[in-house]
């Protein structure tokens, strides 16, 4: 999903770089309020883990691979503010050190994976969590749903950028159906990895999981009334 240089023209790339910068500033402020001694190291670890798992491309269909994006995973583990920052660090590393994702496209990539993927995936997680019973396994299931949907959401982000500023002239609707179709398949892999990872952390240190903590603390507040 890493956009190379050249697909999207420079003015469009600049607009999305500005939008991403705004989202990063907002997330810095949010993370500063939320992170404490216990959650800050987990946020760092989340970035490291996502970098590692993004290297593991899995086959999805004939001649196509996909890899974890990690937006929903990070949002469930450490909250959406820190998640946007973690994904941004990963994308900067990949772009500058490993020549993965164009340097002029970093704003586009941060917008799709670090903003849309994180906040879209987190919104789906919250919706699904609401309808499931309030127990630990629901957190993994809701995280999987967030992961599943976050990938086509990020793919639609690319299609919007393509519609605004593609250097090529192929039809937007063809790009839309191909991108969404392929990325729903990749989303299944995303859902599996997200559920397994959230499940492992829930089993060992559920007290660290943002998407579980903020539900249990709400319940405590209600119980106190």
């Amino acid at each position: 999903m890493h956009i190379p240089d050249g697909f999207i023209d420079l003015p469009t790339s600049a607009v999305f770089a500005a939008a991403s910068a705004g989202a990063i500033a907002y997330s810095l402020a949010g993370a500063r309020k939320q992170l404490d001694e216990k959650s800050a190291p987990l946020a760092g670890l989340t970035a490291v883990f996502i970098f590692a798992v993004q290297m593991l491309n899995f086959p999805v269909a004939a001649g196509t691979s996909g890899h974890l994006l990690g937006g929903a995973l990070a949002a469930v583990l450490v909250g959406p503010y820190a998640a946007t920052l973690a994904l941004t660090v990963v994308l900067l590393m990949q772009g500058f050190l490993f020549a993965d994702g164009g340097l002029s496209a970093i704003g586009l990539n941060v917008f799709n994976m670090g903003v849309l993927g994180v906040w879209g995936g987190y919104a789906v997680f919250l919706l699904v969590r609401k309808v499931l019973p309030k127990n630990k396994s629901s957190i993994s299931i809701a995280a999987a749903a967030g992961g599943l949907i976050s990938v086509p959401i990020a793919a639609v982000g690319f299609v919007i950028q393509y519609a605004i500023g593609a250097t090529a002239t192929f039809s937007v609707s063809a790009v839309l159906s191909a991108m969404v179709g392929t990325h729903i398949l990749i989303g299944i892999g995303e859902a599996i990895i997200t559920a397994l990872t959230v499940g492992a952390v829930m089993a060992s240190r559920s007290d660290l999981v943002f998407g579980w903590k903020n539900e249990t603390s709400k319940l405590e507040i209600r119980a106190q009334k």
């Binding site: 240089d5 992170l35 590692a52 798992v53 491309n57 691979s65 590393m93 020549a99 090529a168």
Partner: protein
């Protein structure tokens, strides 16, 4: 319950094993976006990466012939570099004296 420190160390070790070992077995097929770009026809609008000649371009270490070693070392460097930057960032951002 395992301690914070143990949990983070285990997580970093798992990440190092994945990036340093398992990455060799990753699929080398084009990813979703690249495949779509090729099928529809806009793949050729991609430009070479500014850093395509750099020492770690495409997750390999320049000069290491053995592919398994090359991607493995690149992955480990990525784990360390990502950990240094994100660890530093999040430690700077955290609330140091939470009011209880």
């Amino acid at each position: 319950m395992i301690s914070n420190r143990k949990f983070i160390v285990m997580g970093v070790l798992v990440s190092a094993l994945l990036a340093g070992g398992a990455s060799f077995y990753a699929s080398s097929h084009p990813d979703g976006l690249e495949k779509v770009a090729g099928d529809i026809g806009f793949l050729e609008t991609a430009k070479d990466h500014t850093n395509s000649g750099s020492a770690l371009a495409d997750y390999g270490v320049k000069g290491i012939e053995n592919e398994r070693l090359s991607v493995g070392v690149a992955g480990l460097i990525g784990v360390v570099a990502t950990g240094a930057i994100s660890g530093g960032l999040f430690l700077l951002l955290r609330r140091k004296n939470p009011k209880n």
